[in-house]
Amino acid sequence: MPTTVTSTIAPSGGDYTTITAWEAAKQGDLVSADQIQVGQLSGFTSGLNERLIDIDGSTTDATRYIELKLATPHAGVWQDANMIYYDDVGGSNYILKNNDQYVRLTGLLFRMGYGGATNGESACLVAGDGIAAGGSDIRAIGCIAKKLSTSAGSGSLYGLTVTDVHATVAIVNCLSYDWTQGSGIGIYIITAATASLYNNTTAANDVGVQRDAGTVVVKNHLAQDTDGYNGTFSASSDNNLSEIAADCPGTNADDSITVTFANEGSDDYHLNDTQAALTGADLSADGTFAFSTDIDGDTRTAWRKGIDDGASAAAQPIGALAGQIGGAGLPRLAGFRGGLAGFVKVGNIYRPKRWLWLPPGLAPQGA
């Protein structure tokens, strides 16, 4: 049974202050050491400004791997806290590149801007250009990548990229958006052994997903881009959706479907939509990469396309919802300040800014 070694990467009070230092310290033979090395980002309230981060040179296998994640998972929506960003990467560069065979990038946030004209900048090279032959299992799960809104160069920018012929990659529940600089791409498979792209959302990109080479299987993908899918994908691709006509790869295509998100202007790509075309395939027993949760960590029951399985029920009045919460001797939902009736939905999570606990029979005053 491998030992999980968890290190904190934080601006103060942590084990390391950069991902690079963490990786340099941990680089080694994890198989012989029988270790899983986990790096957890925390405390970067305005993000971690770091680029050219390499995960490389360690010996890993399916049970002894490297994982990089946030100490506190994001809520499925962009946040600046604990993002990894670089706002002018420079020619043919990146923020993070993985070259190890068994690596998990879990719930990371990448933001990149670039003022130059060189094509080929990637926020995250999920698999770079040096994956060894002999098998790999590289996972990007629940990651979010976006272009800096003020980025003003002309060079093409990409969100999540795979560019190694030996890479077996799963990109699942990831969100990539706003890649419009040059010929921007949300998820770009330049080459791979096998890339499984499941339940991702791409939006407001020049191209949502592009495949140049390798076996690329796309399932339950939600694309709301100028061009959703570019290239030839595996025939086993299934249940994809696009905003434009004759676009989706594989079977059960839902083309020409416009989807309503919760609040695209505020980077919230949860669904605010219940149309039938959003229903995808159940991948909980998928033969390549089985999973059963969405980007929020909620169990998928409706198996909706894209990152979010929520918004599965029509809006209910606040009064009806309040009736489902609490009971005799239990905390009660006291209410919201006006205007929320009709917006509260079953399946969504509401986080109050403060709790007001009242004994039974005592009405709130001045809250």
Binding site: S7, T8, I9, A10, P11, S12, G13, G14, D15, Y16, T17, T18, T20, A21, A24, A25, Q27, G28, D29, S32, A33, L52, D54, D56, G57, S58, T59, S92, N99, D129, G130
Partner: protein, 124 residues
């Protein structure tokens, strides 16, 4: 002023086939602003810390990887300190976990660019 994190030991990767990807003692890992609050593990026995005079921007180039024109890794870090030129007194200070202060002139004199030897080795 800038603060610099340097590998104090070779990588724990024993696989010689991965040697070109492995960190070595003396490799420059990160360069930070003066007064940087280092993490608990960013010190001995894994790392040495330097404080170098002059603006950080002037030495920021030294924390890069060594890659060829096709972006293939030649060596994990392009720049490292020539540890054989570190005095015994300086080494004692570093081994004690103290931050070693030096001028940017002295720092530059200690830095080795590993690309020429890495490229030559690959061409052998």
């Amino acid at each position: 002023m800038a603060e610099i994190l340097v590998l104090a030991r070779d990588s724990q990767q024993p696989n010689g086939a991965l040697r070109h990807k492995s960190y070595r003692r003396g490799d420059i890992v990160t360069i930070q602003d003066d007064g940087h609050a280092w993490g608990r593990m960013e010190g001995t026995p894994t790392f040495y810390k330097l404080r170098v005079s002059g603006p950080k921007a002037a030495i920021a180039v030294y924390d890069q990887n060594a890659r060829d024109d096709a972006l293939v890794t030649l060596r994990r870090r392009r720049f490292g300190l020539d540890m054989s030129q570190i005095t015994l007194a300086e080494l004692a200070q570093l081994d004690a976990g103290e931050t070693l202060a030096m001028s940017d002139v002295r720092f530059r004199a200690l830095v080795i660019d590993h690309v020429p030897t890495a490229r030559a080795r690959r061409d052998d």
